[in-house]
Point group: D3
Chain length 132, copies 6
């Protein structure tokens, strides 16, 4: 299921359980994704990554749905199958409609296309976009 297997709640150390508990409380679910169960083999990485994700994904200047759609866009660009599946599910849970998903994908496609046209044509940055 993962390089070192998945650590289920019942088999987890108190340190790992504390993170699992916070994940479930924050996300208001009663289960933890495989991602967390896999990296739980390294409790320091589990805690650091969860604390960071929790802080970064909290609604602020950007709302929760926008943040999840950004995650999907990046995961699709990076060809990360796991992340596309889990964050598409998260975006839907945050309210993403089919129409929003369609437009999201359309932007992902165009950005990846024009990123390569810009590099392939060796386009120099316009003077007015340069940072002084």
């Amino acid at each position: 299921m993962a390089t070192l297997g998945l650590i289920e709640y019942r088999d987890a150390s108190p340190e790992v359980r504390a993170v699992y508990d916070d994940i479930m409380a924050t996300r208001q679910t009663d289960s933890v994704n495989n991602f967390w169960k896999a990296i739980a083999h390294d409790p320091a990485t589990l805690r650091r990554t969860w604390e960071s994700v929790k802080q970064v994904m909290m609604p602020g200047a950007l709302d929760a749905l926008t943040k999840e759609m950004l995650y999907v866009a990046i995961s699709a660009s990076n060809q990360c199958g796991y992340c596309i599946a889990s964050h598409t599910a998260a975006a839907r849970k945050a309210g993403m409609t089919d129409a929003q998903f369609g437009e999201l994908m359309a932007v992902v496609g165009m950005a990846n296309e024009t990123n390569r046209l810009a590099s392939g044509y060796q386009v120099e940055i316009d003077e007015r976009f340069r940072i002084p």
Copy 2:
């Protein structure tokens, strides 16, 4: 300035000028980015790409700012210097605040990190994220 140089308006064919005119009218500016001047060497690509970008970036289920921020996120993930510069400028023009830019970058960073933790730990997709 670009592989085949930049085609300025005064030197452009009527076909290319028509696209430039539509770009300036749509974006309500009086200039055209280097990107379009570079790919104008291939009028078919210029027209097709512009028509696609115009359609995709038009506000719809997602607003203009969200679309520009998605573009920045993907361009940063892909290390496209030109696109980061031009779409960060476009996002600012669409109203992106410093706080929004900060949160955008934070998500970009975390997504690129967890994309690799998921692949490196060989995490299998959770059953409930699988598409039936």
Copy 3:
């Protein structure tokens, strides 16, 4: 099993068998990975790639374990499922502990994050890092 199928030892030409023999002798195993059996359809690529890998992965200024961990780090960054699986196994065979794997993944995650923060914020290279 692969685009052109896998070429097993019993079905291999003498030229391909010679490479398989060298792989098994060098690695002190009695089997050859699917990777080699797949590219064996092009004996020139099989030979060239094996000779290169053999030369590059030989312990020298860097030891075998460090080299395998570098391979895992790059494969995880590139989302190459096959390479992550095979080189994680190779790194373990070379002595990688769970603690080392955990720290390896932590660096992979952070590097992929800060790579994008650096590009997204358009950070210019510090004068003292520039090559004269």
Copy 4:
């Protein structure tokens, strides 16, 4: 110099200065890289990223030099010019010799090559590399 400019120590808030102070103390230098001065526009990202990098790059199961070389390998694979420059400098400071750099680059090259041969030939993961 960066999207939002660089925040120098003299212009920094107490919160940002505290991070700069910790960076300089931890690294035993009297200056802070442009990277930190650029992301300092978002103090939350500055603090979180620094705390994570400090924790991850601390010598543990892997020594400081190995960690810096992993950083260089990933940055080269990702084409992040800033990160290649800064982490190559950091690896040298941690003792990387020219011979080690040469072998590091050789592994980076081969891994990026075989990552694509594996995907292009659609090689299936060997049964013995599969996680049960």
Copy 5:
């Protein structure tokens, strides 16, 4: 089968059917790939993408086989499993021999290797390759 499922011909709207019909007529087949059936959930993306692909892949200054091999090369570099499978099949249909596939993969491998040696060694562009 895909995020939103696949839309079969029998279930498709007239708008989607018209695109499917054009795909089958242009490609002289009696079926439509999963790719099109998946993006058909967004008819605007379906139409735009098909019209673009049809225009771009039409033989012109480059023949159909060369264009399909370019597609395979890029898909392998990007680790897109779906695209590698479908475009390798398309390249074969366009006449790609095993020998051509072998050389194609060899170039893909070398290009991905030297792309990273060039970035990792921080090689500056030769004056004579610079665009004036």
Copy 6:
């Protein structure tokens, strides 16, 4: 000019000079690209990479121009500025016309777009594209 500087012919060891001589003889030029002068700091990598590139880029089942265009396509997808510049120059020397370059870029753009639509929509490989 590069991490370890460039090694000019006059300063090169006999071993490095032998490779430079072969490069100039094979390519019928009287100069050597910065790429080779940069990696010459590691004569083993210089020799291995040159021998591999020479073998792979030699016309065979694919002609020289097709191979150079594949190199440009991959380099543009990977955002390798050095490689885009040097291989676009090489492709021109091998006879690439402006029209061919235009179609090459158009394919690069579309492939990078549809690679992400395929991953983002989580499209499953069609049964008939699967390798038995």
